[in-house]
Amino acid sequence: MSSPGPQKSLQRHPLAGWLMIAPAVVLIATFLVAPFVLAFGYSFTNQRLISPNPTEFVGMRNFEQLLGIGVLTLSPEVDEAGSPVRDDDGALQYPRVRDYTRNNPDYPHLEGMREWFGWNWGNDRVLVLARDLVFMKALTNTLIFVAVVAPVQSALALLLALMINQKLRGINVFRTIYFMPVVVSIVVVSLLWRFIYDGRNGLLNNLLEFLSFGLFQPIDWLGNPDTALWAIIAMSIWQAVGFHMVIWLSGLQTIPVSLYEAAEIEGANAWQKFRFVTWPGLRNTAVLILVVITMQAFALFAQVDVMTDGGPVDSTQVLVFQAVQRGYEQQNIAGGSAISVILFLIVLAISITQRYLTRERT
């Protein structure tokens, strides 16, 4: 091969390689590395989106604010004789929580906290207080979302993959149908599902009414704190199940047909073939899918943003939504950054744990 002199020397120049990867490096640095580093940095400051005051380093204060929780045990009010006071319904009377969390010099560690949840312990009432109630709700909602979506979505996707992995006429139509929600923008899907979940004339209510011969009372799925998060969970599972189905499918198709044939001759029934041939053959796929779904589930944002805005009464608050709301709507960049950092650490910890639990044992 003979190439002209100048070109050759350019290719051999030590900077040539760097020059070639420069665009990628610049883009990755600008949009991935820099925001990541900045978020870490901001989370230790009191940075506002727009503020006349200079930024100050505040140490761990943002995290203390977010994660601060306390426990308060309340004893029932007693009258002078020492017996508990009961109201007209016979319920015990407890002192007000505010008396402990507002300017009470005996309980400085509970200052500014609000009641999160509680339970009765004998006659006493145990309360868990949180300094940032909305964040705590976002955290628990996110964990519920992940805990439900990860297993249900991966199992459902596997089921679909097993079904469409058969050699049947027209099976590609089903593959296409199941995959379709994945290629539609999540914002569009969310808008459509708002109509489905509508409290008056929603498709779901109409369908349930029809199926129950009118016995079913319409529910405002997204407007009810008891159902809103579950409505989002169901819709999210439906939306991405096709994507994971395709990954399962690719895993299924790497398993040689002869293994199934050998198992069949040796007397394996359908379940045994799945148990001894399919499932072991899908090991690596399963690890991948579990990690991917977990991460995607933690990143839940668009559905909440479009469908509920975190409501009603914070029942669909989730971490990413909370980070965005805090950072931009409340202009508290430092608080938003701190949430992002916490989210990062949670996802990192879970991924490492998953990797460890599903490691190749030799």
Binding site: L259, A262, E264, I265, E266, A268
Partner: protein, 366 residues
């Protein structure tokens, strides 16, 4: 233990018929080889015995039970696959014992059977390994072990040696042959390699395009091919097939000649259906040609291959046909030399206009 009976077995995929009516009976303990070129239907036939393919038409009996609709696991067969089909996540021990585990054989009995199979196949030292840690030959051994422990009525082998290198193939071939004697089991073996067929089989079934061409012992097929296909398929180097014209016919002989072959009277058992002037085919095994000073077929040497024990020579004949001769020892031949080759008329085979063999005179057995 059982024999097999095929009665007009057919297989179609849609409108395409791939097995076009096979009739065959296999005795208990026989080693039967299905041989034929790629796509001839031999593997399909085997898979129909195993129950992995449906039988479109006809009846298949294993023992005296019609098994057309019987599940593979209830047919009493074990199969060894070309790709070995070992379960990658199980040890050799578990692979071999998988079928026993499925049918809930007690643990002690299972263990005894696995170790017995390992002993027969000399792989006791491999039991703790996984398939990925084994060589091709070892994997095939495990696959055979998996078949042995189930103590099947019929062993099915689907090109088991195709993925092995030549040397290993030779030794595994001998082991399978030994195994057959040891186990006294019916074995059906599919291959496209006629050497495997010749060395292993009690009975060879030659298939082409879904039709049985000939069934017989290896030597029967070699010496008395039923038609042009079998003549060309069995034997290496291939039988020479030369076009000739019938000059004269009487009850016990056919006289043929061509521009290459001098007029030759060949004895036959019956010349029925042959007429003077017919264009038929003369088949001559390369090993049965010998250098002769007078008469015979004259050709110019094109290519010489010295194999030490014999010399394979390609000749160009006057008509443009080619002829291969296997001459004993290291014959002194060089390219371009013209040579005359003779043959014993009793060794010549004739194939009629439709390609089927004209019965040979003095055939020692049928």
């Amino acid at each position: 233990m059982a024999g097999l009976e095929f009665k007009d077995i057919r297989k179609s995929y849609g409108n395409v018929e791939v097995i076009k009516g096979v009739d065959l009976s296999i005795e208990h303990g026989e080693f039967v080889v299905f041989v034929g070129p790629s796509g001839c239907g031999k593997s399909t036939l085997l898979r129909m015995i195993a129950g992995l393919e449906d039988i479109t038409d006809g009846d298949l009996f294993i023992g005296d039970k019609r098994v057309n609709t019987v599940q593979p696991r209830d047919r009493g067969v074990a199969m060894v696959f070309q790709s070995y089909a070992l379960y990658p996540h199980m040890t050799v021990y578990d692979n071999v014992g998988f079928g026993l585990r499925l049918n809930k054989t007690p643990k002690d009995e299972r263990d005894a059977k696995i170790r017995e199979a390992a002993r027969i196949l000399q792989m006791e030292n491999l039991l703790d390994r996984r398939p990925a840690q084994l060589s091709g030959g070892q994997r095939q051994r495990v696959a055979i072990g998996r078949a042995i422990v189930r103590n099947p009525d019929v062993f099915l082998f689907d090109e088991p040696l195709s993925n092995l290198d030549a040397a290993l193939r030779g030794s595994m071939r001998m082991e399978i042959s030994k195994l057959h004697q040891q186990l006294d089991a019916t074995m059906i073996y599919v291959t496209h390699d006629q050497v495997e067929a010749m060395t292993l089989a009690d009975k060879i079934v030659v298939l082409n395009a879904g039709v049985v061409q000939q069934i017989g012992s290896p030597l029967e097929l070699y010496n008395y091919p039923a038609n042009l296909f079998v003549a060309g398929f069995i034997g290496s180097p291939q039988m020479n097939l030369l076009p000739v014209t019938v000059e004269a016919v009487d009850e016990r002989t056919v006289t043929v000649a061509s521009s290459d072959v001098p007029s030759t009277r060949i004895p036959v058992a019956s010349a029925r259906g042959i007429r003077g002037g017919d264009s038929i085919t003369l088949g001559l095994r390369p090993h049965l040609l010998a250098h002769s000073e007078v008469g015979g077929i004259t050709g110019k040497v094109l290519l010489v291959e010295h194999l030490g024990n014999e010399t394979i020579a390609n000749f160009a004949l006057n008509s443009g046909e080619q002829l291969v001769a296997a001459l004993p020892g290291s014959a002194e031949l060089s390219n371009g030399v013209t040579l005359s080759l003779g043959f014993d008329v009793a060794d010549a085979r004739l194939f009629g206009t439709d390609g089927t063999a004209i019965p040979v005179a003095d055939r020692p057995f049928r």
